[in-house]
């Protein structure tokens, strides 16, 4: 492995080996040589993904105590617990790149690392639990299925586990809406209102349009990403429109229509001003989400310290008992 002070020729050789490996569709593993920019891109992307899972617990946690039945409550609890688990798989993958967990947390606390903007929207009604599962998890799945084939081994493996678990998330959300649309007029209106509010932010989850996306091209070349933002967005629209029809709900886009020639749905323009406003910190809940996260982090500090102190004390006792035995 090249170390500091290794000469340029060495690095060029390693680069050739790395490029050839990517070309052969062979995975890159933690101890393999990789370009610094590849490592940095992965740390940024995987940690952002992990932070999204963790912050994503808040909008849904908001409804656990108010779930309308025990069946809904156990499902929502299991889903939120999964999101915590997904965050942990991803932090674990990021750490294989040589960054420590504390540093990852600190980047989020300092606002240096981002999380998905979708979680800066509020969950106002129970129908939002349906819309979040169906649309937000649905959009996430599009992206994550692609990432099961990403070129970095630990990230790909985390994605396989996550995708297996994620499909229950989407189905439980869709089922919530299925029940609401079969209910009273007020319940159906609630379902439509949730779709109206979550549709456009869900489309924004795929990120800026390809021509505006700064990291996309290099990420595609390195096979970190296999499909572009716009390709994924289109696939999501195509998959979701028929599902809305089954629900009898109307997607809030007057320009949405099937394009026979393209074999895809055409859809209206996305409000990128809103997207950038939320990314830059001025969405409806950015401050609330970070305040909650920071409070939980700070209030948990004594628990983390106490657990470590207790582990050290137990270790010392074990060692003392052992040396007593030797003396005797």
């Amino acid at each position: 492995m090249p170390v500091e002070g290794s000469n340029k020729t060495d690095n060029q050789d390693f680069m050739k080996i790395f490029d050839a490996r990517i070309e052969r569709d062979e995975k890159v593993e933690p101890k393999d040589w990789m370009p610094d920019a590849y490592r940095k891109t992965l740390i940024r992307q995987i940690s952002q993904h992990a932070h999204s899972e963790v912050i994503g617990m808040q909008p849904e946690g908001n409804w656990i105590l108010r779930a309308p039945s025990l069946r809904r409550k156990v499902a929502l609890l299991a889903k939120v617990q999964d999101e915590a688990g997904h965050g942990l798989y991803l932090y674990s993958a990021a750490e294989t790149l040589g960054i420590e967990r504390d540093e990852l947390y600190q980047q989020l606390l300092d606002g240096k690392a981002k999380y998905s903007s979708i979680f800066n929207y509020p969950t106002l009604t129970w129908a939002d639990m349906g819309a979040v599962g169906w649309l937000v998890d649905g959009a996430a799945i599009m992206n994550q299925v692609m990432l099961t084939r990403t070129s970095y081994g630990p990230y790909a493996r985390a994605m396989v586990r996550i995708c297996k678990e994620e499909s229950f998330h989407q189905r439980q959300g869709y089922e919530i809406l299925l029940h609401l649309v079969k209910g009273s007029e007020a319940q159906k209106d609630m379902a439509q209102d949730a779709l109206n509010r979550w549709w456009w932010p869900s489309l924004m989850m795929f990120g800026p349009t390809d021509s505006e996306s700064t990291h996309s091209e290099q990420s595609m070349a390195w096979k970190i990403k296999r499909k572009s933002n716009d390709e994924l967005r289109q696939a999501f629209v195509d998959a979701t429109v028929p599902q809305a029809e089954v629900l009898g709900l109307t997607i809030p886009d007057p320009d949405l229509k099937w394009n026979e020639e393209r074999g895809h749905y055409d859809f209206g323009p996305i409000d990128w001003d809103e997207f950038w406003q939320v990314v830059k910190g001025d969405g409806p809940c950015n401050r609330e989400r970070m305040a909650h996260y920071t409070k939980a982090y700070e209030e948990g500090a004594w628990v983390r310290e106490a657990a470590m102190a207790y582990a050290e004390k137990k270790q010392k006792r074990r060692e003392a008992a052992k040396s007593d035995l030797q003396v005797a």
């Binding site: 942990l88 967990r101 586990r161 310290e305």
Partner: protein
């Protein structure tokens, strides 16, 4: 304050008869907590019947740059495989 719990690697035996397989890592203050956390993080859907946790610092890995020296010599020792040896057709199943 920096207070990183050590990293542990987690291995799961998915069912009796199969060996433990690496699934990922987690942080825990000690081995007991590592087992408890591994149970919550990696076995929420009946993934296993047994867990191993090993503190990551105790694992020694071979260097990728040694891979050729270590593993390449096996590639040309085809006489270690049964198909290297020719037997008459009359001899079945050997």
């Amino acid at each position: 304050m920096k207070n990183n719990w050590p990293i542990w690697e987690v291995f799961i035996r998915s069912k009796n008869g199969l060996s433990h397989k690496h699934v990922g890592s987690l942080h825990a203050a000690d081995a007991e907590m590592a087992i408890e956390n591994a149970r919550d993080v990696y076995t929420r859907r009946t993934e296993g019947v047994s867990l191993w946790v090993v503190e990551s610092k105790n694992i020694t890995a071979s260097a990728p740059t040694d891979a050729d020296a270590l593993f390449e010599p096996a590639a040309n020792k085809i006489y270690r495989h049964p198909t290297f040896y020719n037997l008459p057709d009359e001899v079945k199943h050997m």
